[in-house]
């Protein structure tokens, strides 16, 4: 069979009861009078996942991603339509679901694997691999109740990912664990991809889908709004998110930032920049009354809120004296090092010791970075490769 997961016209409706009536007395009292609203969490979803394909599903919170995964794994059943699956499924909807705190790590590995539908024999064969993947060799015979949350999650992930399913379903679980473990998980996923297994992957970390998925589907309000090439869908997602992202604003407005403009090397406003390109962040202000010793600053953040770069006039050793009326401060960035992605610019003006904030605009404007290089990561670092061998 060419397809391992076929989702055909799937819709899922939840009944939102006006009151959650759970006891007999209430059932009789409210009999026939209980109103409910229909809530369609999924509407008419059609996706065919081919053997060996890695499909990413992205979308805002409440867009129906998790409901769809739960339908695929038969935890929920679609109201309409059907889902055909072919092959054994291991779902990482929640790591360590079903771990028993009063059992040891070893006992839980077997229990958890059997919940996923794998036999003792299979686990026996994989046991050492699972334990070393989870880095829990020393603790495997301790009670899980004594595990730290990180250990708990590592063990859960290690079990599910090492039991050799035909179809692996991952929901937002890579967000846990430290960076090294995340990296290891991604490497393991890449290895599973090479083995020709099918993976369905849900995440908020959309840039990760660009890294590992063959195809991405974006859901919004229970419908597929975009489907196809990861790069295209992820860019679409960023654009869609931008329109809803709420930019914060605060300050006593003694000085008002009237605009923040991003200019290219020709001094023209731009929304798109290339890696290595010149950029000017122009912060225009207006002060009704004289304000002494203000500090202007800006920062560039990625979609996660990670600050790529930021500075202000104080850090640069500048003293602006007293300002009044309107004016502008230009920050000139001679070479943008960021790789592809969406970035936000925040701008602020405050007193020297930051005790008084005049005006602070959080993620006020955004721009997209494009890059001619295919390297991965946040920043471009010029890199040359030299080869040498033992003879030289």
């Amino acid at each position: 069979m060419p397809y391992t997961v076929q989702i055909q016209n799937v819709s899922k409706m939840y009944k939102l009861y006006h009151e959650n009536v759970k006891s007999l007395k209430e059932k009789i009292l409210f009999f026939g009078r209980r109103g409910y609203e229909e809530f369609w969490a999924l509407e008419d979803i059609n996706i065919d996942v081919e053997q060996g394909e890695t499909l990413g599903i992205i979308g805002a919170n409440g867009s129906g991603k998790s409901t769809l995964l739960k339908c695929i794994t038969k935890i929920l059943y679609p109201t309409r339509g059907r889902i055909l699956t072919n092959g054994s499924i291991a779902a990482l909807l929640e790591l360590g679901a079903g771990f028993q705190p009063d059992l040891t790590g070893r006992e839980n590995v077997y229990l958890n694997a059997s919940i996923l539908g794998f036999s003792k024999k299979e686990v026996d064969r994989k046991f050492d691999e699972i334990v070393s993947f989870a880095e829990l060799e020393r603790f495997i015979d301790n009670h899980v109740r004594n595990y730290s949350s990180g250990m708990y999650v590592r063990l859960g992930f290690a079990v599910a990912i090492n039991v050799d399913p035909d179809i692996l379903i991952i929901d937002e679980v890579l967000a846990v664990g430290d960076e090294a473990f995340q990296r290891k998980c991604i490497e393991r996923i890449e290895q599973i991809q090479l083995e020709g297994k099918t993976i369905i992957f849900v995440t908020h970390n959309v840039d990760l889908t660009r890294e590992i998925c063959d195809r991405v589907v974006m859901l919004d309000n229970g419908r597929i709004v975009r489907e196809g090439e990861p790069r295209d869908v992820v860019n679409f997602y960023h654009k869609a998110m931008e329109s809803v992202s709420s930019s914060g604003e605060r300050g006593n407005r003694q000085v008002v930032i009237t605009s923040v403009d991003l200019l290219n090397e020709r001094g023209e406003p731009a929304k798109e920049f290339q890696t290595g390109q010149f950029m000017t962040v122009k912060v225009s202000y207006e002060a009704q009354a004289p304000v002494s010793d203000p500090v202007f600053g800006f920062s560039i953040e990625d979609y996660r809120g990670f600050t790529a770069y930021g500075t202000n006039t104080r850090l640069k050793g500048l003293d602006l004296g007293t300002i009044e009326g309107s004016g502008a401060v230009e920050f000139r960035l001679s070479s943008l090092p960021m790789l592809e992605g969406k970035y936000f610019v925040s701008a602020a003006v405050h007193s020297r010791d930051e005790s008084v904030i005049y005006h602070w605009l959080d993620k006020h404007v955004s721009f997209d970075m494009y890059s001619g290089v295919s390297d991965i990561g946040l920043l471009y670092i010029p890199c040359e490769i030299a080869l040498s061998n033992g003879a030289s």
């Binding site: 759970k22 679901a97 079903g98 009063d102 996923l116 539908g117």
Partner: protein
Amino acid sequence: MIERIKDLIAHRELLWNMTFKELRVKYKRSVLGFIWSFMNPIIMLAVFSIVFAILISRGNIGWFSVYLMSGLLPWLFFVNSTTQAVVSVVTNPGLVKKVYFPREVLPMASVFANMIHFFLQMLVFFAFLLIIRWHFSPYLVLLPAVLLLETLFTLGVALFVSAANVYLRDVQHFVEVAMMAWFWITPIVYPVGLVAQRFRSFMPLYLANPMANIVLSWQYIIYNPHKYAPKGGVAYISFWGLLGTSISAVLFFFLGYYFFHRTERGFAEQI
């Protein structure tokens, strides 16, 4: 249905693991652990022997404590299974909402865990009987059949109440009360002859209770009433009662399973 059973067979290891999990977790932080399973019947035997031998005289029933135990242990297997099964689905939201597996594993594991418990208790009980040189009845060979009958019936009830409890939490409270009433309409502490004597016309109704027939069968094959209580009114096997019980045990099992299967799709949304 056949699909379901296939799926259950594929998950048989899960069923065993869940069963042993229940047993292991039960005694996990206790020093004596599994010894408690043995201690229970020993202490019960001791208490009953003292109470009934010294305080209350039951002339017509010899070894009253043995009579009591031969009905009480199977009854406890039924009650403990049912009361544990009824909450087995609702107390595992982490599993039911997050992972797929045949959900019937949960109530079934409750039943099987109690069955193992029951075996251990029976082991102690039989050891006691051997020590006092009990004269066993030849009907003892029917033990597997009686066990099967009780297990089927228990599974049926367990599957039904555990599924119903997801939709209506009253079920677990109802089961608690119902079990107490049920205990007294089952001939465990009193001889069935007492009922036959005083309420003769009610006997068919009395024997419509499957547990009454199951308990009577256990008493018949273990206690050996013909030898120890010829006039005790204890030896009572009704053909129609047993036939009805056998049919209802099979029926309960399949209906319980069917009901569970029908309602199971909504579990993750309801918990």
